[in-house]
Structures are given as structure tokens and as C-alpha cells.
């Protein structure tokens, strides 16, 4: 039904309601320059709190935050890490702070975040003390804090039980990654399916299977996706990288 045996993705690409922005359109636009000026000038004014009400505007949310945090501190939650393959590396001990989600290295969650503090993108100076909490999704969150564990302060649970993924899952992840690297740009889809089945057997995992996604006219190469909850290795058709 779909064109050329694809999955509708090419049709969707063609149905883009706003054409992609060309390089020529980037840069200065009259409206954009106005917005830019407005942001920079407004912020310059607001960093000088010369009136008492400007201070109050900051104080009220601060008091609320402290009150909420104190209430949260009364409940010392702990929860197991259910999504050990994903680690959220937070840049600050604050709800809503920017976080980078990275793949687990197999060790403690903090080990996956330390490189981001050593060689960017978070900093180049090495990490401050890092603490592991558990997000509502079950993924570990690694949060910097100079004042002890921030979990209770932020209303997050402390981890209980092992935080690192089981060794067998790590083996499977490593085997598949190595397979992708060996292919140097294009891993054939049929080869990927066979390799994935071998990797499952070699890792010792049971009740896992392989699913191959829809191919398209430009999608001759394969990538792997791992779904530990559904116990599936997805072979995903993609263009040559």
C-alpha cells in the first residue's frame, strides 16, 4: 500500500508543512533581530534589583522552594533502578536543570557521567561530588552536590539494590556495539539479524528475540536498538552513515 514498500516515512517527509530552512535564511532577520535586542536589553535591566518589590519577586519563590524541599526531606524514599541502561547526568542540583542522558558504562551510574564533567559538555574541570538518585521513570539520575545527597531535597528516591545493569545485558550491549563498529558505515540488514541472534546466545540471556524493521528505498544499512523491558533486539533499517 505504501509507496515502494516503505513505511510511509518518505511520504511524511514530503508532507512537511514548513519547508526546511535553507542556509540562506539563517542569520539576520528583521523580526529576529528585534527579539534578540529585546531579550538582551530586558535582561540587562532585570539584573539590577534597585526596588524592594524586585527582591520580593525572587524571595517568594525561594521561600516556597525551601518549604517544599523541607516537606520533601521528611520522606526518605528509596526505590530500585529499573532502567539501568540509561543514566541522566544533571548539570545542577535543581529540578528542571539541564541533563544529558547517556548509556551506562556497566559500572556505577556516576562513572557514566564523569567524562562529561572532565572533557565537556558540562565542564572541563572534573566533577564535583556526584550522587545517584532514582527518577520516577526508574532511571538513575546523577546529580552534583557539595552538601551531601540531594535526593531527599529534590523529592527523589535513593537507589536500593544494584544500580548497574546485569552483566549479561552489558555483554549483549557490548557485542552489538562492537558489531556496528566493525561494519564501518554500513552493516547489512540480513547480517545484523544473524549477528543479533548470535549475540543473544553468547550473552546467556533467555527469552530474547530479534525484530527487523521496515526497509525503505534508501535504507540499506542496519543499526541496533535494545529494549530490555520487552526483551527485544531491534534491527533498524537506516541510511548509510
Amino acid at each position: 500500500m505504501t509507496s515502494e514498500g516503505g513505511d510511509g516515512f518518505e511520504e511524511l517527509r514530503r508532507a512537511n508543512p514548513v519547508p526546511p530552512v535553507s542556509v540562506a535564511e539563517l542569520g539576520r532577520s528583521a523580526r529576529g533581530e528585534g527579539v534578540l535586542r529585546n531579550i538582551i536589553e530586558t535582561e540587562t535591566a532585570s539584573v539590577r534589583p534597585s526596588r524592594w518589590w524586585r527582591k520580593r519577586r525572587v524571595l517568594v519563590p525561594a521561600v516556597l522552594t525551601v518549604a517544599l524541599a523541607s516537606a520533601a526531606a521528611g520522606y526518605e524514599l528509596s526505590r530500585p533502578v529499573r532502567r539501568p541502561l540509561e543514566v541522566a547526568c544533571y548539570t545542577k542540583a535543581r529540578t528542571g536543570a539541564l541533563a544529558f542522558v547517556v548509556s551506562s558504562t556497566g559500572g556505577p551510574p556516576a562513572a557514566a557521567c564523569r567524562p562529561l564533567w572532565r572533557s565537556g559538555p558540562i565542564s572541563h574541570q572534573g566533577p564535583p561530588p556526584l550522587f545517584t538518585c532514582v527518577l520516577a521513570s526508574g532511571a538513575p539520575a546523577v546529580i552534583p552536590s557539595e552538601t551531601g545527597s540531594p535526593c531527599a531535597r529534590l523529592g527523589l528516591a535513593k537507589p536500593v539494590g544494584p544500580s548497574a545493569p546485569p552483566a549479561s545485558l552489558e555483554v549483549l550491549q557490548r557485542l552489538l556495539r562492537a558489531d556496528e563498529l566493525r561494519a564501518e558505515g554500513c552493516l547489512g540488514i540480513t547480517t545484523a539479524r544473524v549477528d543479533a541472534e548470535k549475540a543473544i546466545a553468547a550473552s546467556g540471556l533467555r527469552h530474547w528475540h530479534v525484530e527487523v524493521g521496515a526497509r525503505g528505498p534508501t535504507l540499506h544499512c542496519a543499526g541496533y536498538g535494545l529494549d530490555p523491558v520487552g526483551r527485544v533486539v531491534h534491527v533498524i533499517a537506516q541510511p548509510r552513515t
Binding site: 500500500m1 510511509g8 511520504e11 508543512p17 542569520g27 532577520s29 535582561e43 541522566a88 548539570t91
Partner: protein, 184 residues
């Protein structure tokens, strides 16, 4: 570096980032609102938030996904406000909701609308924004692996919804031609 020097460096960094990405953020928002005016408001709010959060140099390859992740939050607020306003209008008019404005992609867009919100967003990021998995994953706060799995499933759901709609369309065309044949 003194306060003035630090501020000048921050302004310069922000200005470069703004000029490189403003139109991209507007296009991202327009694809999801169907209105250039709303899209410009969302872009302005996005860059205002980016200015407040900008602490230091952010690698160029991370800027687009960082900005789009902020825009995504602003877009959710925009939709919530819009839904509230629309509900009031529907109650007043006792009418059916109109189709999404400014979007006319035929069956494939109708198929997209049938999917779950996260699946829709993953497909839009890949097909319309043209983001590679590493950036799409950053926008949604997922690992590249999790993003790839979800993209794979979303494409499968899109295909199923698209084929379903195509069959329905063919069925209704067949009914129409049979009805016309019967009248002759």
C-alpha cells in the same frame, strides 16, 4: 575577566547562537502550531529562557537540540492554553472541533495524528526537522538507543495507520462509484 567582560562574552555567544538557530526554532514551532505568529512567540520565549539558562559555552553540536527541547516545553504550555480557549469556544458554538490549522498533508498526516504523542513527535523530529538520532534523543531526553527503538516502533505504527486509512479511502471510493453506477 571582569563582570563587564564576562557579560560581553555571554552576549556574543548568545547572539551567535540566536542567529544560527532562530529561524529553525520558528519553523519547528510553526510545524506544530500551523501559525507563523504563534511560532514566533514560542521562539521568543524559547530564546528568553535560553538566555537565562546559558551558563557557559555550549558545544555547537548541542545547541540545536538544547533549544528545541526548551521550545518543546513552551509548545506544551501553548497547547494547554489553546485547548482551554478552544473548549470555551466549542461550548459557546456547540460545534465540532475544526481540523488542525495550516496542515494539509492528506492521508499521511491523518495517519500521523492517530499515533501516540511521543510517536508523533519522534517522527516529526526525524522527518520534518531532519534531526539525526543523537540530536532527536537529546531533544526528548532519551538515549540514542531508546530513541532508535521508539523511532522504529513509531514507523511501524505509522505504516499500520497509513494502510488502514488507505483501505478506508479505497472502500469509500468503491461505495461512491457503485452508488453512481446504480443511479444510471
Amino acid at each position: 575577566m571582569g563582570d563587564e567582560g564576562a557579560r560581553a562574552a555571554r552576549v556574543e555567544l548568545f547572539t551567535r547562537m540566536f542567529r544560527a538557530h532562530y529561524e529553525l526554532v520558528v519553523a519547528y514551532a510553526e510545524r506544530r502550531t500551523g501559525s507563523r505568529e504563534d511560532a514566533e512567540d514560542i521562539a521568543a520565549a524559547t530564546f528568553a529562557a535560553a538566555w537565562r539558562r546559558l551558563d557557559g559555552a555550549l558545544a555547537e553540536e548541542l545547541q540545536r537540540s538544547w533549544l528545541l527541547s526548551i521550545a518543546r516545553g513552551n509548545l506544551a504550555n501553548h497547547h494547554r492554553g489553546r485547548r482551554r480557549r478552544r473548549l470555551l469556544i466549542y461550548r459557546a458554538l456547540a460545534d465540532r472541533p475544526p481540523a488542525a490549522p495550516g496542515v494539509d498533508g492528506g492521508l499521511i498526516v491523518a495517519a500521523l495524528d492517530r499515533l501516540r504523542p511521543l510517536e508523533q513527535e519522534i517522527l516529526r523530529l526525524a522527518a520534518w526537522e531532519g534531526l539525526p538520532p543523537v540530536e532527536g534523543a537529546a531533544v526528548l531526553g532519551l538515549t540514542v538507543n531508546a530513541y532508535n527503538v521508539r523511532l522504529h516502533r513509531a514507523r511501524r505504527s505509522l505504516r499500520a495507520a497509513y494502510e488502514d486509512l488507505q483501505e478506508q479511502a479505497q472502500g469509500s471510493r468503491g461505495d461512491t462509484s457503485r452508488a453512481q453506477g446504480g443511479e444510471q
